[in-house]
């Protein structure tokens, strides 16, 4: 092993200014969040998993499975040019309703959501202000039926709307300036049953 002692004494670091700006690449980050172990809470993850498996995206599109990492997603969020979050959204609708929230609508709507990872998302977005870069954010969400039962399958209502949700996300990726097309037929893996 390599000796570590005495390595942390004062030592100027050449060429590393403290005020260097974090470069923001011009990309579209599609971020699925939620927990696949709790029914519909995993729908955002299922969507990004499906996009990765069945679609070819242009080079400016980054697809990220964010799980429930909350504030640890800061790295992903702060380097996003445009951020497209896929999640469940509680918006006083019926299960299966699909909502699209543009950036100026987000804070109040998110705060209304009874889910821990969303609170963290807000924190992460707030912290981005400290980095002088808040990505232009859109949230596409589906009204869930069940977020609390420990089970890795979507409820039937949400599973029925899954394809529509995917199509809505695909459309939004195009609107944001990316492309996202179904892979050639022979390379498409068998359609998943939304469980692992």
């Amino acid at each position: 092993m390599h000796a570590a002692s005495g390595r942390y004494c004062r030592k100027p670091l050449p060429g590393k200014g403290m005020t260097e700006n974090t470069k923001t690449p011009d990309n579209i980050t599609v971020l699925g969040v939620g927990n696949i172990l709790y029914k519909d809470d995993g729908v955002g993850i299922r969507v990004v998993q499906h996009l990765e498996a069945a679609y070819d995206v242009s080079d400016n599109v980054i697809i990220v499975d964010g799980g429930v990492l909350g504030i640890n997603l800061l790295g992903v969020i702060s380097t996003a040019g445009k951020l497209l979050v896929v999640d469940t959204v509680l918006n006083h609708g019926r299960p299966g309703d699909i909502h699209c929230l543009a950036h100026h609508q987000i804070p109040d709507r998110i705060l209304a959501k009874n889910s821990l990872h969303q609170v963290d998302m807000i924190e992460a977005l707030t912290l981005c202000k400290a980095l002088d870069h808040v990505p232009e954010t859109t949230i596409i969400g589906i009204e869930p039926r069940d977020l609390n039962t420990l089970d890795d399958r979507l409820t039937p209502e949400i599973a029925d709307r899954f394809d529509d949700l995917v199509q809505r996300v695909v459309r939004e990726i195009h609107t944001l300036g990316g492309t996202c097309r179904l892979k050639a037929q022979n390379s498409v893996p068998p359609r998943q049953d939304h469980s692992l």
Binding site: M1, A4, M18, L74, G75, V76, S78, L127, L131, N148
Partner: protein, 545 residues
């Protein structure tokens, strides 16, 4: 599958950890730690393919994704007698090492610093004096213009009312001791650390296939063979170097600067007698020649070998059906039916109470470094002695909240330095034509095994029993359960509960001191703190992230 467990209410927004303390004469007299969320992942795993277990367990915690997957594949490899190739060991070490660097930096700056650093006080700092302070203490001094800029940024934050993460702190609390300039310097580094953590997370993406949920781990090794190009390894090395420089030039000097104002915390927040460490970062194989050695301290400074048979989980005070304390290999997860009643005199937590030889045991950075120090691990010993010397405190100060926080910084340096060797070994293997990262294997009909790791938050063990090629039983005992678990059948408290007793509380309405100790354990969950004043019977309910 098909089994559904409905536990209601699951108070997700309230937080998963609830700490209750009773304060008398300005000190904590008694404490209860309660896990408020049921985790029944183990039941979900029964009957599944062992090769899939890690996909599930890595979702069981929002923060600790990679390490659960690692323990899980190790458990299956142990049950199926698989020896992973050398390159797989190195890549796993590098991924795990990257996790340590990232997690500990985030913990110190973003989850713990504001327990010691008063952001509002930073607004009255003199940028010129702050620049001078940083020149004297930090490995990366800033100019007065830089600190002025940071001050302006902080004011904008504070004045906008959108405090975000700064919202829940107790600015102006009498227990904050740093002068305004030290507060400004630390606040500046808080912001720098945000940038750094964003970069450090990318290390995982290189060998992990993707981040945040690495997909490269498989039973039998790793599947990052395609990543073993010199370019990719250099990319990893560059981020690693930048991270390491930050740790050594900024994190450790900040830790020492802050600690020097809080030496009284070298006598608060200890109170544990057993320290348990499974050890980690194998130099060869799975559990040989570990960078952090395995061992247990039981009331003295002579480390003993860990005897896994001594581990049990007691459910007397947890919301499970009554039963004897059991070893995890035969453990059960049987939640009591119906509504659960939070009663600190009886059952009050979803966490079981893990015990080693019948005693509660602290796990995590402090345990790891104590075991390494007393085992004579040279890198650790030198660094610990150096830190104690610089602070002018004795070894007894390690057994405290301050010691726990310092231990975390020390191991960030030790692990960060060791990563260099793993990168070099990996490079030379590849140069010599050895690109093997996966050992093919076949699933046995029956098997039993465990995977032990020492992860950023402490000792993590997964136990698996395979029958008919499927998972018959799966149990895991996680660091937060060791540290934050409840009392047991003999009324012995858990480590966090012990540590809180005796803590001075200046103002029960603002239990900053409680947070310091709870956060020093790095609980990976939001935390709701309740403080009871027995004289007025007043309960202060404070939500803290």
């Amino acid at each position: 599958m098909g089994k559904k467990i409905i536990i209601d209410p699951i108070t997700r927004i309230e937080g998963h950890l609830r700490i209750e303390v009773e304060v008398e004469n300005g000190r904590v007299k008694d404490a209860w730690s309660s896990g408020q969320m049921f985790r029944g992942i183990e039941m979900m795993l029964q009957g599944r393919d062992p090769r899939d277990a890690h996909h599930f367990v890595q979702r069981s915690c929002g923060v600790c994704t990679y390490i659960h997957a690692l323990s899980s594949v190790r458990a299956v490899e142990s049950a199926c007698n698989i020896t992973i190739p050398e390159n797989a060991r190195l890549i796993r070490n590098l991924l795990h090492g990257a996790q340590y660097q990232h997690d500990h930096i985030v913990h110190f700056y973003h989850l713990h610093a504001l327990d010691w650093v008063d952001i509002v006080s930073a607004l009255s700092a003199d940028p010129v004096k702050t620049a001078k302070l940083s020149e004297n203490t930090s490995g990366r001094p800033g100019t007065s213009e830089y600190f002025k800029e940071v001050k302006t940024k902080l004011s904008t934050f504070v004045n906008s009312g959108q405090l975000g993460p700064f919202n829940n702190a107790y600015w102006g609390h009498p227990a904050y001791h740093l002068p305004p300039e030290a507060n400004l310097m630390a606040s500046a580094h808080y912001l720098e650390a945000i940038k750094l953590q964003a970069k450090a997370a990318r290390m995982h993406a290189i060998f992990g296939g993707k981040n945040p949920h690495p997909q490269s781990l498989v039973v039998g090794g790793v599947t990052s063979a395609g990543e073993l190009t010199p370019d990719r390894i250099d990319e990893f090395t560059n981020i690693w170097q930048e991270t390491r420089a930050f740790v050594e030039d900024v994190y450790i000097p900040d830790l020492l600067a802050v600690a020097s104002f809080y030496k009284d915390w070298g006598a608060i927040g200890g109170n544990n007698t057993t320290y348990l460490c499974y050890g980690d970062f194998p130099g060869a194989g799975v559990d040989d020649d570990l960078l952090y050695p395995a061992g247990v301290l039981e009331g003295d400074l002579t480390p003993k070998a860990v005897d896994l048979a001594q581990i049990t989980e007691d459910v007397t005070r947890a919301w499970y059906d009554p039963g004897e304390a059991k070893h995890p290999s035969v453990g059960e997860t049987r939640p009591i039916k119906g509504e659960v009643d939070y009663n600190t005199d009886d059952k009050y937590s979803w966490m079981k109470a893990p015990r080693y030889r019948g005693k509660s045991a602290e796990v995590g950075p402090l345990a790891r470094n104590l075991v390494a120090y007393t085992s004579g691990q040279k890198d650790v010993k030198n660094l610990v002695d150096d830190v104690l010397g610089k602070l002018g405190v004795g070894m007894e100060a390690l057994f405290s909240t301050l010691g726990r926080t310092a231990a975390r910084g020390i191991e960030t340096v030790v692990v960060g330095a060791a990563m260099e060797g793993w990168v070099e070994d990996l490079k030379s293997n590849i140069a010599s034509g050895d690109k093997k990262t996966y050992q093919p294997w076949t699933m046995p009909d029956k098997g039993e095994g465990y995977g032990l790791n020492d992860v950023p938050r402490g000792a993590l063990g997964h136990w698996i029993n395979i029958d008919g090629g499927k998972i018959k039983n799966y149990q895991y005992v996680v660091p937060s359960t060791w540290n934050l678990g409840p009392s047991d059948g003999k009324n012995q408290k858990g480590p966090v509960e012990n540590s809180l007793i005796g803590t001075p509380i200046a103002d029960p309405k603002q239990p900053l001191e409680v947070l310091r100790t709870v956060h020093s354990y790095d609980p990976c969950i939001a935390c709701a703190v309740h403080v009871i004043d027995p004289h007025t019977n007043e309960t202060y309910k404070v939500k803290v992230i």
